[in-house]
Symmetry: C2
Subunit: 226 residues, 2 copies
DNA sequence: AAATCAGTAATTGTTGACAATATTGGGTTG
DNA sequence: CAACCCAATATTGTCAACAATTACTGATTT
C-alpha cells in the first residue's frame, strides 16, 4: 500500500515544533541555558525524542550545544544580525526574480490582495509592531514559496526567517517605516506581475537593504541593545 | 574553570561525521534506503546517538525520513541540482565581495599559493576529475571562510557544499574545463587582492554560472542521467 | 487471473535505567 | 585575602528492552 504522506506526527516532530515556536516567540530568550529535563516536563515528553529535536535545532543554528555542559538558545551579536540581512538580500533577491518567472497569475492576484489586507492592518494597528511584522513575514513567505526553488525555500523558511523572527519581537524591524515598507512591497509585486524578474530582484534587494540600514541606525543610536 | 572548547567528541558527532562522509563519497548513493541497525553494525554504534545524527542530517536536507518507513538518502532531480547552482551564484557572490573587504593579506597570499598548487595538480592528474574537484572545493572553501560571515559560511559549508560534492563524483563539474576554471579562479583572487569587492562578486557569479551552464549542457546531451 | 484483505514479521519510535563528564561549592594553601 | 585544587552533585551521554506502526506474504474472493 502506497501511503502517500501519512503525516504521522512523531514525538520528535512535536518536540521540534514546540521548541522552535518557543524560541521564535521569545519564551526561550537568546542566551538562555535550558536543561533537558526542564524541557521534558514543560512539553510533556521524554528525553529520547527531545534530544533528537535538539539535534535538529542545533543543526539549524537556533541552539548551541556543548557536550555535557548543556544547551542554550543562540545569541547573535549585532554584527551577526546585520550579516543575516546581507544574506537575505541576495537570497531573497533571487527568490523575487524566480517568483517573477514562475508564480501563477492566481498567486500574484492573491499576493496583491494580501497587501490590501496589510494596508488596513497598518491603519488599525497603530504602532503595534507585532502585526506589522507578521504581515511583513507573510509577504516574504509568499514570494519565497513562489520562487518554486525547493532548496532556496528550505533555507529561507527553515533557517533564516526563524532567526530573523526571533529578533523581530525585540527590534520591530519596520517600526517607524510601515507605510514606506508597504509601498516597497507594492512595487515589488508590480514588477512580478509584469514578469520583470530583473526589476523584482533589484527592488527586493533594495527593500531588504533599507531594513538593514534601519537596524544599523538603531544599533548606532543605542536604541536597541543586543 | 573555563574550558574553551573541550572538543569532547560524542558518539552522535561521530555518527554524524561518518554518515555525512559516506553520503558525500557516494558509499551511500542517492535514493538508497538505509536501515537503522544496518548503520549501527556498520559504524559500530548504537541506535540512540545514530537517531540523533539522522535528525541532524535530515534537517540539513541530506536525508529524507518517513515515520516508521525508514530513511533514504536524498535524491535530487536534474532541475533541483540546477537550482542549487542558482543559489550558489548569489551566495558565493556575496562571499567573494565580503572576502575582498575582509581577508587578510596573508590569507590572500595563501590563496594565491593554493592556486599555484592546483595548476600543477591539473597538469599531473590528467583527466582525474576527483583531484580537480577537490581543488575547486578548496578554493571556494577558502573564500567562503574569508568572508567572515558566520552564518553565510555555515549555510554554504554545512549545507550546500555537501550536496554539491555528493553529485560532483558523478558529474565531475569542471571536467573538460579545468584550465578555464583555473583562469577564472585567478581573476577572482586578483580582484580580491585589489580589494575590489564589486568585481570579485561579479566574477564569482559568472564563474558559477559557467559551471551551471556546463551541467545543463551535459544534462541536455544526456551525458549524465540523474 | 487480478485485486483485496488479513496476519505475520521486521523495522522504527519510545521509554526508563545506567554510565560518564562538566560545573559548583567548600576547603586549603600561598 | 585571593587563587587554586579537590570532591560532591547534578546534568548530559549512552545503552538495551519494550511498544507501535508499517510493509510484506499468502490466501481468499470477485
Amino acid at each position: 500500500m502506497l501511503d502517500t504522506n501519512a503525516q504521522t506526527y512523531t514525538r520528535a516532530d512535536e518536540a521540534f515544533d514546540c521548541l522552535q515556536t518557543a524560541i521564535v516567540k521569545g519564551e526561550l530568550a537568546p542566551g538562555d541555558k535550558i536543561g533537558e529535563l526542564d524541557l521534558c516536563s514543560r512539553f510533556e515528553l521524554t528525553r529520547g525524542p527531545l534530544r533528537e529535536a535538539l539535534g535538529r535545532l542545533e543543526s539549524r543554528g537556533l541552539l548551541v550545544r556543548r557536550p555535557h555542559a548543556g544547551v542554550k538558545v543562540v545569541s547573535l551579536s549585532a554584527a551577526e544580525l546585520v550579516e543575516l540581512y546581507r544574506i537575505r538580500e541576495v537570497m531573497e533577491g533571487l527568490a523575487a526574480r524566480q517568483a517573477a518567472e514562475r508564480m501563477t497569475d492566481q498567486e500574484i492576484a492573491d499576493l496583491q490582495a494580501t497587501l490590501d489586507g496589510h494596508e488596513t492592518m497598518i491603519e488599525e494597528a497603530h504602532g503595534q509592531a507585532y502585526y506589522q511584522a507578521e504581515g511583513d513575514y507573510d509577504f516574504h513567505h509568499r514570494i519565497t514559496t513562489g520562487s518554486r526553488n525547493t532548496k532556496l525555500a528550505q533555507m529561507l523558511l527553515g533557517d533564516l526567517y526563524y532567526m530573523v523572527r526571533m529578533y523581530r519581537y525585540r527590534l520591530s524591524t519596520s517600526a517607524g517605516r510601515p507605510h514606506r515598507a508597504l509601498g516597497e512591497h507594492r512595487r515589488i509585486v508590480e514588477a512580478i506581475a509584469q514578469r520583470d524578474g530583473e526589476l523584482a530582484e533589484f527592488l527586493m534587494k533594495r527593500h531588504i537593504n533599507a531594513a538593514r540600514e534601519n537596524i544599523e541606525k538603531k544599533i548606532k543610536e543605542g536604541v536597541l541593545t543586543i
